[in-house]
């Protein structure tokens, strides 16, 4: 089924509103995949999604915010790797282990790498290469105290109207 045509390339409009390691993936994956299919893509980074535009990407993940998150060791004997620690330990205990967030972040990064999943940096770089429009939310910058020079050079700054103007002609619009 061929849907693309020269007069109107398909358009994807995304809102990235969450900045944790796990939730940062969907917008970057969808944006790069769509751009690879010759779609026009814009991503509006707002609220907690805005830090995903920072030069130094340091997204982390917390089991406390994701009670259903499976946690398996990416190394060690096979039997041990199969154990889902989050399913076997009550969240009340797991969430109060000191350093659990950095451990969960490190486990997730290791597991992703092991499974051939690109890092967020690689995916964002692919988005830049494929000319995805990345729009940082001006209002969020003001509220949380960010300045443009903290962000990658390839992004632009705008507001809701900037995004909506692009999204008005989008074939697919998603809020992440």
């Amino acid at each position: 089924m061929n849907q693309n045509n020269a007069s109107h390339p398909r358009r994807l409009a995304l809102i990235a509103s969450r900045g944790t390691l796990d939730w940062a993936y969907p917008p970057f994956i969808l944006a790069s995949a769509a751009a690879a299919m010759d779609w026009q893509v814009a991503v509006f980074f707002t609220f907690y999604g805005l830090p995903l535009l920072k030069k130094d990407l340091s997204a982390a993940v917390t089991p406390a915010g994701n009670p259903a998150m499976p946690m398996r060791l990416p190394f060690g004997p096979e039997g041990l790797q199969k154990i889902d620690w989050s399913a076997n330990l009550p969240n009340l205990i797991l969430n109060n282990v000191p350093g659990i967030d950095s451990m969960a972040t490190s486990l997730m990064k290791k597991k992703f790498k092991q499974k051939g999943v690109a890092s967020l940096d690689e995916l964002r770089e692919a988005c830049v290469d494929l000319e995805v429009r990345m729009i940082g939310c001006q209002m969020t910058m003001d509220v949380f105290g960010f300045s443009k020079d903290e962000f990658i050079d390839e992004c632009e700054i705008g507001g809701a109207a900037t995004f909506l103007e692009f999204a008005a002609d989008a074939d697919v619009s998603l809020f992440v």
């Binding site: 061929n2 994956i29 690879a36 299919m37 779609w39 995916l123 692919a126």
Partner: protein, 79 residues
């Protein structure tokens, strides 16, 4: 009939969406009519490469499994 590829792209070990991202980048620098051979291990690449070809209107000449867990795609650049 064996089709000879003009360019080879290794996506072994890479997961979604890198096979389509790398295919797009590889095909960009090729001549119209040239054939790209892409090899991947991501089972999702089979439906994804079909969808990619539908959307970009490049021609997916073949998609086959080999060596047990690898997939080989031949893509012809059409425009």
């Amino acid at each position: 009939m064996e089709i000879k590829a003009d360019k080879y792209l290794d996506c072994i070990g890479l997961n979604c969406p890198m096979p389509v991202v790398k295919t797009k980048k590889a095909i960009k620098d090729m001549e119209v009519g040239a054939v790209l051979e892409m090899v991947a291990t991501d089972p999702g690449a089979i439906p994804d490469m079909q969808a990619w070809a539908n959307q970009t209107q490049h021609e997916l000449l073949s998609a086959e499994k080999f060596d047990g867990d690898k997939f080989r795609f031949l893509i012809k650049k059409t425009h």
